[in-house]
Symmetry: C2
Subunit: 125 residues, 2 copies
């Protein structure tokens, strides 16, 4: 039987995960599971994401830096240690703070379109 070590990763190991370029200044590494999918997102200083939505629930955890979270028409400042839930179907995006941000996103269920490397937020966004 395969070792459980196959399921162990590190947030800063850029060799791990499926690379995805979300915009010129925002990239992520995707780790798909059976029921959930993790995404370690790096946002350059002041970089702007694209407003989008999807039916999957999403959680975000600010690991480093700060950002403005755009969600459901509101702009909410978030800093290291903050985390949030984005219900399915709620439009959202992010704008990196002056030092940028590292954000851990969780999708549940997994976003099927993120199971392979690629670019963009999915569905053309």
């Amino acid at each position: 039987m395969a070792s459980q070590r196959q399921h162990f990763f590190n947030l800063d190991n850029m060799e791990q995960g499926l690379f995805r370029q979300l915009t010129d200044d925002i990239s992520t590494r995707i780790f798909p599971g059976d029921q959930a999918m993790l995404s370690v997102v790096r946002v350059a200083p002041n970089a702007k994401g694209t407003l989008h939505q999807h039916p999957e629930e999403q959680w975000g955890v600010m690991l480093e830096g700060s950002a403005i979270r755009l969600q459901g028409g509101e702009e909410i400042e978030v800093k290291k240690g903050d985390f949030w839930r984005t219900p399915g179907g709620v439009e959202h995006s992010v704008i990196g703070g002056p030092e940028g941000a590292v954000i851990l996103d969780v999708f549940s269920p997994p976003r099927e379109e993120y199971r392979i490397s690629g670019s963009g937020f999915g569905d053309g966004a």
Copy 2:
């Protein structure tokens, strides 16, 4: 319509979440969603959890400190920045490192028995 701010939290705000005492030396604050559930676990130095399993998929992220992860009969050292997936049905536990640990756990789907405050790992464990 309620503000999206209701979905925003902080890892260190001990007033937030549903408190659960897992053992005398391990406690958590649970944040239930529709498709996933987050759990911010604080493990005292050298504290030992109880081996248990559940059908829900689990992910863990080491936010602070270190630990030994017991999973599927293996013992794997984990430190800040490491994260791991525990497939449903795989027996697991944790032993805190010399300075203890803060671990973010994700359950998908949510563990129904954790939707209310209480004690223990569920199912008597």
